[in-house]
């Protein structure tokens, strides 16, 4: 826990200053999780504010301060789902954005403005984003929380509010699908490299 239970209790009872402190303590971590969940740096702050907005108006429903963190993660996951669903509807414009980014990156590389390390990081990010884009939003979020954020099964049980077995089944299926997607994605990029 990044803050005391008393502070959460105080925020829950309507103390705005206490709520402000809670946000200050958690915002960086939540923004980091969101950035890896949605993969769009320009929208991270907006989704982060949405999470804390929902937190503000639902804090009185929190049963005990002990479950605050999984509950905050749950709000984060829900806000990320909503964002990803909206994005899916705007998929075409997103594709054009991506290609624009790629063109900009290619220009920067050609101009020698980007280091090799930066280029490697960008490529890795793009590859993982495409990999996670090729599975459903549910799989994407679950895999990000488990494999990237490193949440334990116990923590995920609290976030998803399901029992261990149900969670294991979901995780098993999500892993199967991502392994399959990884295979076809690497095959496609290998083919593309062959063509180049």
């Amino acid at each position: 826990m990044l803050v005391d239970f008393e502070l959460i209790e105080s925020a829950r009872s309507g103390n705005d200053a206490a709520f402000n402190q809670v946000v200050l303590a958690y915002r960086k971590r939540i923004l980091g999780t969101i950035s890896r969940l949605i993969g769009r740096p320009e929208d991270v702050e907006d989704v982060g504010q949405e999470v804390f907005l929902r937190l503000y108006f639902s804090l009185d429903q929190l049963r005990t301060p002990e479950v605050f963190e999984p509950w905050l993660y749950r709000l984060t996951v829900n806000a990320a789902y909503d964002y990803l669903r909206r994005q899916k509807r705007r998929h075409e414009s997103r594709m054009s954005d991506l290609s624009e980014q790629q063109v900009m990156m290619a220009d920067a590389v050609a101009g020698g403005k980007v280091s090799k390390e930066e280029l490697r990081r960008t490529n890795l990010k793009e590859f993982v984003d495409s990999l996670l884009d090729s599975v459903s939003e549910e799989d994407r979020v679950l895999l990000t929380l488990k494999e990237v954020e490193g949440l334990s099964l116990k923590e995920l049980e609290q976030v998803y509010q399901v029992n261990e077995n149900a969670l294991k089944v979901r995780l098993f299926r999500a892993r199967q699908r991502v392994i399959k997607a990884f295979g076809s994605l690497t095959e496609t990029s290998a083919k593309l490299r062959g063509v180049d």
Binding site: V23, R29, Q49, L53, L124, E147
Partner: protein, 119 residues
């Protein structure tokens, strides 16, 4: 039984291949938690305020609507429960009284009275 055990073991043991695990770890390292921008908190509070104002106005509107609805119900109850025969004699009179009132000449006609009596 053996099948079930095998499925359970499969479920417990499915890990991602080392290659994908390493890729996710590098992805995590390549994307550190971003520093929030300076206007993060002011923007958040302005969103909270606007939502609060909206909720407050909506609440006030709902209260007003409820008051108007209660007042209308009361008015309608009074209107419908008021003694109706005072408004029009037709509501309190019998059918024959109303007929007699509508045709005062018929009642005075002795021939008609006689024929009704013989019936």
């Amino acid at each position: 039984m053996a099948n079930e055990q095998r499925n359970r073991a499969e479920l417990e043991n499915l890990e991602l291949p080392a290659e994908i695990q390493a890729m996710f770890a590098s992805y995590r390292a390549a994307l550190p938690d971003p520093e929030p921008e300076a206007n993060f908190m002011p923007q958040l509070w302005s969103r909270i305020d606007s939502q609060r104002n909206f909720t407050f106005s909506f609440g006030r509107l709902a209260k007003r609507f409820v008051s108007v609805a209660v007042a209308s119900c009361l008015a309608m109850s009074i209107f419908f429960l008021a003694p109706v025969h005072q408004m029009s004699p037709a509501y309190g009179a019998t059918y024959l009284d109303v007929l007699a009132a509508d045709h005062p000449d018929d009642a005075a006609d002795p021939e008609l009275t006689h024929s009704v009596e013989t019936l």
